[in-house]
């Protein structure tokens, strides 16, 4: 392919810069709200704060509970534990199931894949009542384990679809060669298939992580201990019955979103190759 002209390059850069600005504009407003000293508002198109204070961040980060304990730290820890465990459990379950769906023949395979997709079509709002009862039967209410299981399983349909799509694109010859060399199916799976599927694993892990990291209704409903609340629950506390503490909400929103953005940044190379959405790859 020949090198595009300078003019064209300049036009592309200008276009992309404009679009990036449009994308970032709303985010800058959140930053402005978080950094402005009051919740006072004025009609303006300027997304940069006039006076800057870190007070809202300080208040969110130093949040303590009634007993004076530093709950923010505990909630951050709870969030990391829940999101991390969800990723681990979700990925482990999804990887093995997706591999079986991609490589083995067994009855109910196609039906199972369809059924997974179908569950995505039923609105989640009505699932809460039965999920609550089931967790109580399993003695998993008010436990992070229960929360992790719910998150991991609700993320599973997407994870399995994405991974299966990726596994389908991996050439079988490599696995057959490994079998010839005397490797067991499990060894082939762990040593050959998984390393090849790294991009898809990264994307799937990111997806499970986000599911758990951002959710608050289930977390607030299932957990009874404020020091084990996840961060979005703490964030939602700034939205009251009569008023919203916008400054703190914005600061909290940035704190909650930061780790996910960092992950996106770290994984962005894999993101492009690893997202198949069950697709066919060339």
């Amino acid at each position: 392919m020949n090198r595009p002209s300078r003019l064209k390059m300049a036009a592309i850069h200008a276009g992309l810069t404009l679009l990036c600005m449009a994308t970032l504009y709303p985010v800058l407003w959140v930053v402005k709200m978080a950094l402005s000293p009051t919740d006072g508002l004025a009609l303006t198109a300027n997304p940069f704060p006039e006076t800057v204070t870190l007070e809202h961040f300080r208040q969110v980060l130093s949040g303590t509970d009634a007993a004076g304990r530093w709950v923010f730290g505990r909630q951050l820890l709870a969030s990391i534990v829940v999101a991390g465990a969800t990723t681990l459990v979700g990925l482990t379950l999804a990887v093995s199931a997706a591999y079986a769906l991609s490589r083995f023949r067994f009855p109910g395979k196609d039906g199972g894949m369809q059924a997974l997709l179908v569950t995505q079509m039923f609105p989640a709002t009505l699932m809460m009542v039965p999920i609550y009862s089931i967790l109580q039967k399993l003695h998993l209410l008010d436990s992070l384990t229960g929360l992790v299981l719910v998150y991991a399983t609700t993320a599973l349909p997407f994870c399995i679809w994405n991974l299966k799509g990726y596994f389908d694109t991996l050439p079988r010859e490599l696995e057959e060669a490994a079998v010839m060399d005397g490797a067991s199916t499990f060894q082939v799976f762990v040593r050959v298939v998984l390393p090849l599927a790294r991009p898809a694993l990264a994307v799937t892990a990111l997806f499970s992580f986000m599911t758990a990291w951002n959710e608050f209704i289930l977390a607030a409903t299932l957990l009874n201990d404020p020091s084990r609340f996840t961060l979005p629950v703490a964030l939602q506390r700034f939205v009251g019955e009569h008023k919203v503490e916008w400054g703190k909400f914005a600061a909290g929103a940035l704190i909650v979103s930061a780790p996910v953005m960092a992950l996106f940044f770290a994984l962005q190379k894999h993101l492009v190759g690893g997202l198949t959405a069950g697709g066919v790859k060339g």
Partner: protein
Amino acid sequence: MSRWLGLALLATALSAHAAPETEKPLKLWHAYRGGEEAALVQATKLFTSKSGVQVELLALPYDAYAAKLTNAIPHGVGPDVFIFNHERLRNFHAMHLVAPASGLAREDYFPNAVEALEVDGQVYGYPMSLKSLALYVNTKLVPQPPETTDALLAMLPALSDADAGRFGLAYESGDFYFHAGFLFGFGGELFDAHGRASFDTQGMARSLAFVKDLQDQRFIPQEASGALVKSLFNDGRAAMIISGPWFAGEIAPNVNYRVVGLPVVSATNIPIRPFLGVETAYVSARSERAEQAQALARFISLGEASRMRAMVGRQIPADVAAYTLREVQEDTLISSFREAARHATPMPNTLEMARVWEPMKLALRAVLQGGTAPQDAGALADRRYRALHRERPPDASPLPWLGLVGAMALGGSVWVLRRPAATLPFKQRYPDVAQAVAYITPAAAGVAVLVFVPFAVGLSLSLFHHEAGEYSFVGLANFVDILASRGYSITEPLSFYFTLAVTLLWAVVNVVLHVSIGLFLALLLKDPLLKLRGVYRVLLIIPWAVPNYITALMWKGMFHRQFGAINGLLVALDLEPVSWFTRFSTAFAANVATNTWLGFPFMMVVALGALQSIPQELYEAAEVDGASKWTQFRRITLPLLRPAMLPAVILGSVWTFNMFNIIYLVSGGEPGGGTDILVSEAYRWAFQRNEQYGFAAAYSVLIFVVLLIWSAFTKRLMRSSSEVMG
């Protein structure tokens, strides 16, 4: 978790009585913040020091609070005492969540506060504090507060200058909670003698006409939100505002103000009578230590606790004795609100009351923002009210259904059993079935228990009618009601077909925008020679990383009538600011803008991946043949992208179809439910219209059916596209 399990095992082994009961603290749940929370903490500490009983407080987000209570208490894992507004009492009562207040002495509290907590002659809960509206007056601008509406009307012209952004009066005029006082002041009644709501009344028309006139003369701001009212008052640009006790904490220190009762309506000689809300300490019906729980609830509603709540929490105690304290007497805010509460109308705790909000909001906004005449608004509200009020359908017999399920199971198993006989033996057809089972069982078990079972429960719920905690089997009655669009012509927002059309439009517009923007950006970004490619890519992915309820709230703020950045941009460009949520087209556009921002990065990433998989040689060959760039795009890129993009498009359309957060948080269905999609409509039936779970489930099943049809259709598309691929 293991600790919990260990405890549970221990408890069963030693029998329930073994653990000393006094050791476990009483559980108290609330959604207070700031001063109110601090006061409650102080009060419970005092309770502990006096009674020796420990109390464990749990502060919850208001948005998740009611759902948590209704889930936890019936399962026996709820609090012993919880604090909630009295408005929901009838729901709590119907679901058997609350116990009668056995230790309550009526004379301790204001009579209208106790009345608010009565159900069938029993009092439930201990009234803690009163919430009603009053008039905040900027004393510099208004030395003498108006006592009648005539006096108010005489003052307003001098205090208002809408062009300069100054208003004589400001309040959230589009919210029925704020309008109710006017309705009662003009002699209107909300309920007839049978307890049924009636909207088409004289008082309704007159009160609406009065407020409409205030707005037309530009004495009050249009579409005022809480944020606007606060900002106007703090800047001295609103001389008077109507709000509740919670507003006092928001006033800037340099504003001198006082609080007085709302004026008397001159035409009727009745004071503007706002709703009275009663914050109540309820004892859970499932508390195992009812006596201590009653003592705690009573304690925090009276005596020293009242003083703390008044002085620290800035609440208006419902406790009569509190007003004999000097401190409280001298506190003008508390005593003024106490005066204002005298004239307030206790908000009925009936189920009928819960059905009034939506019709009233509709009528109010139709008059203030639309062109509806005040005398016609009552009929509009009445119509919506009747559509929301569904009579319980007749019970149906579940027997034919059980028979049908049995027959299907039988038929299915016969079919499965007969099939393999025609082909190879099972072992040969599925040589590695044992391994497959091993790999798939953990995931299958998890999905079966936590996804499929709730899913099946949800499906079957659609055959039931739910009212006040009781389910009755009604067969297909819910579906018949929805599909027959009962009580509504199909062009009205509450009709299933209207909502379906909006939903389809919503899904199509969004997916088209997501895919075209995503693809466009991917085409720009795919060039490996492009400098700063990684930077652009990271910046453009950011919307995907932001949790979508934050996105929704952020954009809702951007579309704010008075402070939104979008209107700021319009004004900067010398254009008229737009009131986004008063018309269908602009409200829908606001939703679409939000969802497009949120959704294009996913499609961009998928398209980038798909573009990379197209062999470069094809383009080179086309170049040699002299094909133009456009021809290359049409003949190579598009056809080769299709198979990779289609699954993403299907998934994206399913997600968009059920994108509840955006609709609910950005437009909230405004105007008049017009922009609601099926899933937000289902949510309203389940959680805002007296918990009609069965009806909501029927909506969900229909959503599900529509998506099934859609996926079958796209599957065909996919098949034909893979045929194109050869």
